[in-house]
Amino acid sequence: MQVDVVYATAERQVWLTIDVPEGTTVVTAIQASGILQRCPEIDLKAQKVGIFSKLTKLDATVEAGSRIEIYRPVRR
């Protein structure tokens, strides 16, 4: 099934679509997408993740068509 992994800053947006097996967790999908290599500044221990604007845990399972999003905390 296909899922999207996105990371968006004002300067640069990375939007990857990958194929993952059923029952994949959020963290596995993020690792499989290779987004961590493209954006080495991402720290999954510190940054929250979610699916379509809903915060989720890293070990939550993803459904087909999910847009997994990696967030950054607000600055103020």
Binding site: A10, W15, K48, R76
Partner: protein, 176 residues
């Protein structure tokens, strides 16, 4: 009490029947061409073409009063699809509406993560969650500016699209 129940039921059934018959007999069929054109348009009702919404833009296209290049979010692929449906050759001689003019950018120092812009966005172009910085996916942004209006902190602005190989066009010759 029975009389009241009976009366209201009779009233409901009668009026319902009248409405059902009226909707059948007085039904105005949408122009199939207009319906097809509307289905091709993005449906975001963004108003960048100068029409109130996509339905009105489709009506103008069907009437021939609007060029097929009217829709900025639709881009070149939409121009082709509309021209095919209308059976005409698109006039691409000059840059027109079908180049997305603007994209939204968020000032990250002013974003408080309130989610208002996400709710306003018709194309799911904004990534964010409560109390998390929001970011615009430029690929998905249609440049309609709804998020700019929705942001309570004035943290979103539209900036002109950067010139790329896809958007560059030869400038018009200067008039003498």
């Amino acid at each position: 009490m029975l009389a009241a129940i009976g009366g209201l039921t009779a009233l409901g059934v009668t009026l319902g029947t009248v409405l059902a018959v009226a909707s059948r007999c007085l039904n105005l069929d949408d122009d199939p061409l207009e319906a097809d054109l509307e289905a091709l348009l993005p449906g975001a009702q963004c108003g960048q073409c100068g029409h109130v919404g996509c339905k009105q833009a489709a009506a103008a296209l069907a009437a021939g009063t609007a060029p097929v290049t009217l829709c900025p979010p639709g881009g070149a692929s939409l121009v082709r699809a509309l021209a095919d449906r209308l059976g005409i050759e698109p006039d691409c001689s000059e840059p027109s509406g079908s180049l997305r003019l603007h994209e939204a950018v968020i000032d990250e120092d002013d974003c408080v993560g309130c989610m208002k812009c996400l709710q306003a966005c018709a194309s799911d172009a904004i990534v964010g969650a409560p109390k998390q910085l929001h970011g615009v996916l430029a690929e998905a942004c249609m440049g309609c500016g709804r998020c700019v209006e929705a942001c309570p902190n004035g943290a979103i602005a539209l900036r002109p699209m950067p010139v790329t190989l896809e958007t560059w066009h030869w400038p018009k010759p200067a008039r003498v």
